[in-house]
Symmetry: C2
Subunit: 379 residues, 2 copies
């Protein structure tokens, strides 16, 4: 590879208001933006083979540092050739820092200036996550996009608590950058915090820009504040971050969250919603969410979504999907996860095309009207 | 379709001792024999998409009448276009009669000359299975190969009990034939009973031949008698059945059972073993069964079977398989089921080729030597 191919870079091809479409180039392939990253927590996107995840249109997956460091262990994965080889996915992988999940999943956690000491929820073993150890673990995993170690400020929080939490995250961001060092072809993203407080978001953005990152995440949202409050923050937060770097809204979200966030200038998303919903009989469609467990589908010969080209919609009736959901068959999770990931990637593709044509407003109106119609009964 | 394509027929292409290789022709496609039929109990081969089952080399699936009549119901499946369309498998399907499973799974069952009255294990509803209702249900499902309704004689049984049970099954076989009627392109198989008693097996075969079927199953084996006792019966039972019709050993079995039964003149098999084992971390290989849960695989970079071309063996290490088994990820069931079904179909393909070349003895010696070697530790 020559130098250019070996670099991490971001190019914006078109804009429509605050919305942008473009591509992130990495040595492992291109990531078309706005991008949705399926979540492969424990080195698998649940109920999917990686080749099939790629078929849905995914350019990049997300892996969870917290889960992987505990099982099977980062050194183990490094010894086996890295996460890409381990899970049989040769395109880009973004790993989170472990900061969010250590606070939500680990036992007996203790947060100090140094980092977070905790016990594994898997086997009770003792561990410590710090900016330095998070960088080392993500390096061992072989992650293409590494996230700075931060504290996701809980919601709701007073302005004082949010400020203190954000400033700790900014000190950790600086330590993350120092520990990451220079790794050509690999990117480090900083994470803006500040909860729903505009001044704190501005202060956080300013500190991140001083340190300098390859991309910038908007953290601390989608934590219970609701869509309206989230959009209120997204009305100003993305513009505080550098224009020429990717902006990543962590852990988001529902299709309408994504559409609204893209319109406000966000480039990247990740969420367990499409895969988790696929395992609980919930399907995303152009006309909203369909619950296949509902008895109204029991004799319905129609596909889940007649306009969808995924294997679930081209091969099976709603009656079949209802049957396998009721019978608790694994194929129910397989087909509905595939459909949901396909739906999300089609949504991203539609958003990219709409921005390219400067017709995002039309796309959004149609999206909202379709969703509002709801699922239609058979005639 | 012209008349020839529309007919059910069986042709033997080569023999090697009692073993035969050939093909069953049906309007939905050819079944190469000896054939292994993966089991799709509730209209799904668990943890597999049907297109992928076909990729393993399967020509035909087995569906369970008992499960399907209770959920989603045979009339429901008929209304939706039949079982093939319902489960997205357009090749041949064999359905059992429900007789075996009603006796092993149903609640409050009562066996009379008429049939078996029982309550559903799913919802407690009352049902009756008779030769006539079994034929009707299998017709509604659209089965290509229909099995006569019988009682699978429990093991062990005294000769008197086995005789009484077998004679009931033979009266039911006659009623099954009458109820089946004439259905061009669809086949009806009779089932030999008689437990481990040679005279009863002979009497049963004689009665079935008098009635006349498109194929003949050997029932009442693989019910706890062990491989030695089973082979003892198979040393004489297949030859009692017509030479020019397929012989089907129901519910069998382990790879070594299949190899031994093919050598004794059996053409068709079905078993849940490869799929069920795939969901409990057991993998079939040339060198015997490998348990991926075992900690010795935790750091092993080798594939499960270096000679295997399935997606599990070409894409993943033993370490990965061990990890996803321990983490109880769905992909563990998906990959190991795929591998096991692939292994079984490769075994059948090897047997067919060996018979064609009249080298079945060599094949068997090598099979047994390889299995005896056991799984090899990394060097």
């Amino acid at each position: 590879m020559d130098g250019a191919q070996n670099r991490f870079s971001f190019a914006i091809h078109a804009t429509d208001g605050p919305a942008r479409t473009g591509a992130i180039s990495t040595p492992r392939g291109e990531i078309r933006t706005p991008a949705f990253m399926p979540v492969g927590t424990a080195a698998t996107v649940k109920a999917m083979l990686p080749g099939n995840v790629r078929q849905t249109g995914a350019d990049i997956l997300l892996g969870n540092t917290y889960h992987l460091m505990l099982r099977p262990g980062a050194q183990r994965i490094a010894d086996l050739g890295g996460l890409h080889r381990f899970m049989n996915w040769n395109r880009p992988i973004l790993t989170d820092s472990g900061g969010f999940q250590v606070m939500s999943l680990a036992d007996l956690r203790k947060l100090t200036e140094e980092g977070v000491a905790f016990r594994s929820h898997v086997d009770g073993s003792k561990h410590m996550l710090t900016p330095e150890s998070s960088m080392e673990i993500q390096r061992l995993l072989g992650s293409d996009i590494v996230m700075a170690f931060d504290e996701c400020t809980p919601y709701p929080a007073t302005e004082e608590v949010a400020a203190e939490s954000m400033r700790l995250s900014m000190r950790w961001a600086k330590r993350s950058k120092a520990a990451f060092g220079e790794r050509p072809g690999h990117a480090l993203f900083g994470i803006q915090q500040g909860s729903v407080f505009r001044d704190l978001r501005a202060e956080s953005a300013e500190k991140l820009r001083e340190i300098g990152f390859d991309g910038y995440a908007i953290g601390g949202l989608a934590v219970g504040e609701g869509q309206e409050a989230m959009f209120f923050v997204l009305d100003y937060a993305p513009a505080m971050l550098p224009d020429d770097r990717p902006r990543y809204l962590m852990g988001v979200g529902k299709p309408s969250d994504i559409v609204g966030a893209v319109a406000r200038g966000v480039d990247m998303f990740d969420c367990v919603l499409p895969s988790r919903s696929g395992r609980t009989a919930q399907a995303f469609t152009r006309r909203g969410v369909v619950n296949l467990r509902n008895a109204r589908h029991a004799a319905d010969p129609r596909p889940l979504d007649a306009d969808c080209t995924c294997p679930c919609c081209t091969g099976y009736s709603r009656a079949y999907l209802h049957h396998v959901v009721k019978a608790q068959e694994i194929i129910a999770s397989m087909l509905l996860t595939w459909h949901n990931l396909h739906y999300y990637q089609e949504l991203m593709s539609g958003l990219r095309e709409a921005i390219s044509r400067k017709s995002l407003d039309t796309f959004r109106s149609r999206f909202e009207a379709d969703q509002a119609l709801g699922d239609v009964e058979p005639v």
